[in-house]
């Protein structure tokens, strides 16, 4: 459960969010909107990467402003550019990196990393240099690095923007199969068919909030 109450935010003089009230309990939620509409900022508030200037955010009953680390342990975040998220030289090491605070032995961490990689289609790539993977594989790796921690919520900020059509579809399909609550920020409207709820943002405000079909119809009209 994620709650926004009267949330507002600005960078310098520019207002990016104003007066956002949302309670998100659905399993598949998408944020759509033009560039600069505030959807990315909203997504970052869910794991405390951005703290709201006004209003209040509650994530799984926790306050990201005060319990940032506790929130981040339970909320995974996948960024647009996997190059920025992959921090270790090989795929296996990168996934194992997520577990470094788990108290598990090095061997156990490596084993779990391999298990997760295999589960999401990167079996046999544990020793592979991470930066030599294809774009689609890198994004899968970034996802694995989050899922190995078994988070309750997964926030994805335009994860498919850099992928080709086939990989876009595969990635979103994969998100659909997860047990976690998924919050997806995206411009790929065609991929949202299976979603429970679509929130449309425009200039920092929620302008539509509905099932995919009516919400996306509204957004398309808005975009002209």
């Amino acid at each position: 459960m994620i709650e926004f109450e009267g949330v507002g935010h600005h960078y310098g003089d520019r207002t990016v969010l104003s007066d956002v009230d949302l309670t998100l309990a659905e399993r598949r939620v998408a944020f759509v909107g033009a560039n600069g509409s505030g959807k990315s900022t909203l997504a970052r508030m869910v794991n405390g990467l951005v703290l709201p200037a006004e209003g209040r955010v509650r994530v799984l009953g926790l306050d990201p402003a005060k319990q940032g680390n506790a929130v981040r342990r339970r909320v995974g975040f996948v960024f647009t550019n996997p190059d920025s998220q992959i921090v270790m030289p090989t795929a296996g090491e990168d996934v194992a990196f997520s577990l470094r605070r788990s108290g598990l032995s090095t061997r156990e961490r490596a084993r779990r990393a391999e298990e997760v990689l295999a589960e999401y289609g990167l079996g046999g790539y544990a020793e592979h240099p991470a930066h030599q993977l294809s774009g689609g594989q890198k994004q899968l790796l970034a996802l694995c690095a989050m899922l190995v921690l078994k988070p309750d919520v997964l926030v994805c900020d335009e994860p498919t923007t850099l992928l080709d059509l086939r990989n876009k579809r595969r990635f979103v399909e994969l998100l659909g199969r997860l047990d976690q609550q998924v919050l997806l920020v995206t411009h790929d409207l065609d991929l949202l068919g299976g979603f429970d709820r679509v929130v449309v943002l425009d200039e920092g405000r929620v302008v539509a909030d509905d099932e995919p079909e009516p919400a996306l119809a509204y957004y398309r009209k808005l975009a002209g």
């Binding site: 794991n47 981040r72 975040f77 960024f79 190059d83 920025s84 998220q85 470094r100 240099p129 930066h131």
Partner: protein, 198 residues
């Protein structure tokens, strides 16, 4: 870049010796190099180091590469020193150079980066009380290797873009966009590390 660094895999005594001891040995040798002032003992030291390469079974091809690099330097230094300090001075200087550089390279060739990392982490452990976090050393190594890979890719793109704009000789057309993207990458990496609980 090769994430193994300059390490040359092997199973010799020198490979198996703990990194800390090897480093102490290297320090001792470096001290000797600076204390000795006559050609004969310095020459003996060079021979000893060369035997180290044999002992470590460093492939001839690799030795050749190192020898070539060293030779260029030695010839340059020798000629200059001969002119400035005379023959004996030049010989002493060059023997010192060969012994010190070859020994340092031998250390690097026979020691895994990860072994040095654990040695450094162990060495820093007593400093934990003053706020040092030794376990961050490994993280820094991994992060930097990864960042080099990412930035190399960006640098390649930036250079192509500069060429496309007819500015392939301009340092600014290369460095400015590379830096802007470097800093942007740093910001994203900072966020990603925070998101991953660092």
């Amino acid at each position: 870049m090769n994430p193994l660094g300059l390490y040359q895999p092997g199973t010799s005594v020198l490979h198996r010796l703990p990194a800390g001891w090897k480093f102490l040995g290297l320090l001792a040798l470096a001290t000797a190099v600076f204390v000795l002032r006559t050609p004969a003992p310095l020459g003996a030291l060079c021979v000893a180091v060369a035997l180290g390469y044999v002992l470590a079974r460093i492939p001839a091809r690799r030795c050749g590469q190192l020898a070539r690099a060293l030779l260029v330097l030695v010839v340059f230094v020798f000629l200059l020193q001969w002119w400035l300090l005379g023959l004996t001075g030049a010989v002493v200087m060059c023997l010192r150079l060969v012994a010190a550089l070859a020994a340092a390279n031998l250390f690097t060739l026979t020691t895994r980066v990860s072994d040095v990392v654990s040695a450094v982490e162990r060495g820093l452990r007593p400093l934990r009380r003053v706020g040092v976090r030794p376990e961050r050393v490994g993280l820094l190594v991994g992060l930097t290797v990864q960042a080099v890979a990412v930035l190399s890719g960006i640098a390649g793109e930036v250079r192509e873009a500069a060429k496309a704009r007819g500015a392939s000789r301009s340092v600014t057309a290369f460095a400015v966009p590379l830096l802007v993207r470097t800093l942007r990458h740093a910001d994203e990496l900072g966020e990603a590390l925070a998101a991953r609980g660092e």
